[in-house]
Symmetry: C2
């Protein structure tokens, strides 16, 4: 992408309304724009990161056997009356009347709707287990949306819903998502700690939050330091191996970890002092097993091997991509801007032409742009008329992992400078060496 | 994907509520499910097709230089008051009050919001041309939603918005989208005819609808038959070639074509009788040039080369992916079900194991499933316990282009039967030959 043809509105000033660093950097880098309170547009640079986050989530959901569909944003109130949550949900639910005066709502979550889909089609245990997920917009009318897309009203959520005949099977489905989440966050460049959690309005009695540590986190968390050494389950993990997944779950829940709501001071103090971790954290995922809470009132039953009807055991599993993007930034930035993990960087590399119009600069820059693109790399080519200082600042701000700087003097000698955004290390090398460095 | 682990709820009965063939087939194939009047879930098979349609749209938008972002679904009423459309839009606009009693709406289109984004960041003609698009849910509260996702209330739309300094530049931007649309529909396996169109509530005086011919189309269309011979612009079309694009536009608009609203009986009758085409059509795209209709009242101005401020000339360009899916089916099906063009087929090939449990059948089926998957093909493996007749009917219904049938007798001899869904041609061949047929 040539910067001259892109839309990446960089802000020079620090936006006053941004209280936390991720919000500030997302505004400054032209990733998002607030349209109404707690409602954001994702500008092109932000959209690219969001897509990459979604794709990693999707790959890991699919790997764990979940099947993707797409439920609508608007739901009928009737469904929620069936579960009893229509009244209970309170003012966070955005209630709407259509032109026929029918009561609707903008879905804050989809337990009811997916249960309705399930009961319409699935009649026998032979079609279980089943896990259906979608990545879809939600709306929660928070009284105080803040921190940019970290806590917005309209937001994107990946929500998965599992259906099983028995509690035991449902726990295996839960463990699949537990493992998928560990892998997902690791691929996003973050180490997330699963913590026993409160279930809130979703319900149930078996639930974990996944928390990443960040100074600006909203909640206080307490854990054993051992988590930093635990191994992330491998790509070839067998998700049908019931005992294997249970042992991963057991390992990851073997040491103390809790959010402040679930905190047990005595248990924490029993950890040797040097192993105690007390920090601030951001919730990036939340999984629930809630048994027959929805299947019972909504009549989602299957015939079991015994020939009788049984309400299915369910769980739900949420990750918020629009919250993950700022969470990644909170965990990975410096004073000059964002430092993207390679897996979600909006571009793999930025080619900075320091002097457009200079024949050698243009020639080398165009060659790099074409060759890297042909090699399958996603390249931003800064062909703008900005001053060199502005170009360097922009490249650091948007956090693309590798910068290739093409200046008139080195270009004349067939050389470029390659800078690693994370370490700041710079190295002068030939055009060919630079190509190999990025594509090799 | 193993069918035993997928969620593809096939209906055996013809759904009573479906008036047109695409709606009937989408329900029967388990592609969609109505959740409320005119509001649909896209079940996994439908979601896969929708994603493929979206990706082709996206590739052609990007090729034409449009830049993707993502605007939210909910908008503030204020923006629409600025353009004067808040009152004018009528009951199709879903109006909402949030918990603070602020008037909001579920966006039926995004001219106002994108103009607001533009005016916030772009100040000089040097940043033009610019074309921003998104693929996002819209809501139009139609009094009579019908025909499944062909005319639903909540629907997906790709809407692009172009910004230029002058009318002349804006016409070039219009032509870019005109060409992108010709390519998009062709890649989706359809021949769309551009027709001069009424502009309705979007406004402007230069507009084309893209219509595909189908017996069940909602509107009557009249055109010259020459369209069937016109060449689709090539992949390497130079979108910066102003004269080149204009000549493509001129060619495609050189012969008579009009919807009933714009129909000129005399002009039509001037066509030699054998060249007249009078048929029913489905609108699958609509493009508008509307000059300064929004930029003027909303103050979206840029500094020109003359140093003065000028309101920008705009256009908007819509395609409805959730309508395109049924439109493709209307144009491509037979009495047994859907016949997907390869470009949007939910799977490239289905492997039908006629006797799961039979060692030879299982062995060959698993080999095919693994090898085709490794070769990058999207494979559905029917490993279910259904009877052979049911499996064949399902495979025909869901319309996957190639079926590989693994029966016990031929499997024992190392052979399979390959069936082309479109022609119905069947051929017995070795496992290796079948692999080569599909991957070659």
């Amino acid at each position: 992408m040539r910067l001259s043809r892109y839309f990446m509105p960089i802000l020079k000033e620090n936006p006053k309304e941004a209280e936390i660093v991720s919000h500030r950097l997302m505004l400054r880098a032209g990733m998002v724009r607030q349209q109404s309170q707690g409602i954001y547009s994702w500008l092109p640079l932000g959209k690219k990161v969001l897509d990459k986050v979604n794709n990693i989530i999707r790959e890991e959901q699919n790997r764990a056997g979940a099947v993707e569909l797409l439920m609508p944003t608007l739901q009928s109130a009737e469904l929620w009356q069936e579960s009893g949550r229509y009244e209970a949900y309170g003012k966070e639910m955005l209630r709407i009347k259509d032109r026929q005066e029918r009561p609707m709502l903008y879905g804050p979550t989809n337990e009811e709707m997916v249960t309705d889909i399930f009961r319409s089609y699935v009649k026998t245990y032979k079609n279980l287990p089943l896990n259906l997920y979608h990545i879809q917009l939600k709306f929660r009318d928070e009284i105080r949306p803040r921190f940019g897309t970290m806590r917005s009203r309209e937001f994107l959520m990946k929500d998965a819903y599992s259906f099983d005949l028995t509690r035991e099977d449902a726990i295996h489905s839960y463990n699949k998502m537990f493992v998928a989440y560990l892998r997902t966050f690791a691929r996003l460049g973050m180490r997330a700690i699963p913590m026993r959690a409160d279930t809130g309005p979703i319900g149930g009695n078996h639930s974990h939050e996944f928390i990443i540590l960040a100074d600006t986190g909203e909640s206080e968390v307490f854990s054993h330091k051992a988590f930093t050494d635990f191994e992330i389950p491998a790509e070839n993990t067998d998700f049908d191996d019931v005992a294997g997944l249970q042992s991963i779950f057991d390992k990851w829940t073997s040491v103390y970890a809790a959010t402040s709501e679930m905190h047990d001071e005595a248990a924490f103090n029993a950890i040797p002092e040097g192993d105690r971790l007390s920090a601030r954290g951001i919730e990036v995922g939340h999984i629930f097993y809630f048994g027959t809470k929805y299947s019972e009132p909504m009549g989602a039953k299957v015939q079991g091997p015994d020939g009788k009807e049984h309400p299915v055991h369910m769980g739900s599993y949420g990750i918020g991509p629009t919250r993950l993007v700022p969470a990644i930034i909170e965990a990975s930035h410096d004073e000059n801007g964002i430092i993207w993990p390679e897996s979600v960087a909006p571009f793999d590399v930025v080619v900075i032409n320091m002097k457009p119009g200079d024949a050698a600069c243009d020639d080398i820059s165009e060659k790099l742009y074409a060759s890297l693109g042909n090699a399958g790399k996603d390249v931003l080519y800064d062909d703008s008329d900005d001053r060199a200082g502005t170009k360097f600042a922009t490249a650091d701000l948007i956090g693309v992992p590798v910068q290739i700087i093409v200046g008139p003097r080195s270009a004349a000698a067939g050389e470029v400078e390659v800078k690693d955004r994370k370490t700041g290390a710079r190295e002068v090398m030939t055009l060919e060496a630079a190509l190999n460095r990025v594509t090799g």
